[in-house]
Amino acid sequence: MNKGKNLKVRLGSLVLQNPVMTASGTAGYGTELARFYDPSLLGAIILKGISLSPWQGNPPPRIAETPCGMINSIGLQNVGLEAFLKEKLPPVMKYGVPVIANILGNTAGQYATLAERLDGAVHGVELNVSCPNVKKGGIAFGVDPKGFTRLVREARRRMKKSILIVKLSPGAQDIAEFARRAEAEGADALSLINTIPAMAIDANTRRPLIKNIIGGLSGPAIKPIALRMVYQASKAVGIPVIGMGGITTGQDAVEFMLAGAAAVAVGTATFLNPMAPVAILEGIRAYMDKHKIKDVSSLTGGLVEG
């Protein structure tokens, strides 16, 4: 198992036993995972995003495969806050693994209410800022510096017990600027990247493969972009960064840590192999054995430059 290796990671006041977690939207509310492995093997699980009221999601087709990746336009289908608190949260809290809720909304007020209601009920709250702000003509919070800052501030004000993680959007013109703003507003950690807006077309039918036309690209195809953004964001702040984007092996995870991540999240890889997060954790351990590394945090920012 750990054999003299320290895999602990600290995110604000939350200590994780290892740096691997499931990415939001790829592990449901945790119970489906438990069919395959004990969720408490992981550092944390980040749950499917929830909005104040239930969201139906987009009409199908919602997914399309692309070279080394996939596009999804699920449309953030979720049961809403009340059903989440009543039905989805209690079973996953019993697994004995830190639980991070992911929240989404169309106004800063919705995020604030969600943050307030979830504070103390979960170990952490991750803000999905890639949603459009309907009060500002639908521009996504994550690409509008002022809207973003206000959002993080409102959420931070209402959270005293759980840690606040801000999930940055890859659409940000300058990812380091958004990273700094989140840190200035008191975020305990950052996570990045979310999916990248993308398209796929069937040349024979002349139709887009996704009903919604545009969806989010994920998987190995985005790893180079994600690595670059994790590198830039982590250089700009002192708070820990959770890196994600196409991680399928322990080696990928190590690359993100070398780029600056303190922890990693695994998403699309779970669709290739439901056991992926556990396999990736084992891969990190194997790397540490091979390179005689005693403490996983020594990998963070360990990139050799120049």
Binding site: G25, T26, A27, G28, E32, L33, R35, F36, K48, Q56, G57, P59, P60, P61, R62, I63, A64, E65, P67, C68, G69, M70, N72, I74, Q77, G219, P220, T248, T268, T270, F271, L272, P274
Partner: protein
């Protein structure tokens, strides 16, 4: 990494004693082309069983099976389960889309086998839905005495849902995870979006909101 995702298939035949599983598929795109190039002794990675099978038949009902093209792969185990009691309506664009026609005829797997091809190259000219409508009209037994089990293209299932029969359809949706976590395989039902991989792929025909 490329192709990235697994593809969903129904099981066609299974021999638990021999430890054998058969999949019947049509070569349509990249992955099925790759599959057709596999050699004996090669390796495939499979996750399963996933989803829900066709429910048991109520013994007082007569089974009607509707198979459109490669949908025959999904309903074939039912022919064996119903031990020759089922009426099978098997249709496609042309006779090349009916690969199991001879097998079913020879083994007498159905009580009545009605073949339809849109171009008339085998059986009745027209769709299987048209053939099924004729059958129901000629029946002295009421529609309620039958249970329909159907698998085939979306348009076929939609037309079947208008016949007022009780029964089940097995739907086909693009899937990413297959285990109910990604919500990619959404099927519109009268009770919101359900997951083809978790609540389906078999649904009550009256529950699906066909478009």
């Amino acid at each position: 990494m490329d192709p990235l995702l697994k593809r969903p298939f129904g099981y066609f035949r299974m021999d638990a004693a021999k430890g054998e599983l058969e999949i019947l598929y049509r070569v349509r795109g990249r992955v099925t082309s790759l599959m057709s190039a596999l050699q004996k002794g090669g390796e495939v990675e499979m996750l399963g069983p996933l989803g829900n099978p066709y429910p048991e038949l109520i013994s007082s009902k007569t089974p009607l099976i509707a198979a459109g093209g490669v949908g025959i792969a999904s309903v074939y185990p039912l022919l064996e389960r119903f031990k020759g009691r089922a009426h099978l309506f098997y249709g496609g664009k042309n006779r090349d889309e009916l690969p199991l026609k001879e097998t079913i005829e020879k083994k007498r797997l159905a009580r009545r086998l009605v073949i339809s091809t849109e171009d008339g190259s085998a059986g009745l000219k027209g769709t299987l839905v048209e053939a099924l409508e004729v059958f129901l009209k000629e029946q002295k037994f009421p529609a309620k005495s039958f249970t329909l089990f159907a698998c085939g293209p979306q348009g076929m299932l939609k037309a079947l849902s208008r016949l007022g029969l009780d029964g089940y359809v097995s739907v086909e949706e693009k899937m990413a995870c297959g285990i109910g976590v990604c919500l990619g395989c959404a099927v519109k039902t009268k009770n919101g979006y359900k997951r083809a991989c978790a609540e389906g792929p078999v649904f009550n025909i009256k529950e699906v909101a066909f478009e």
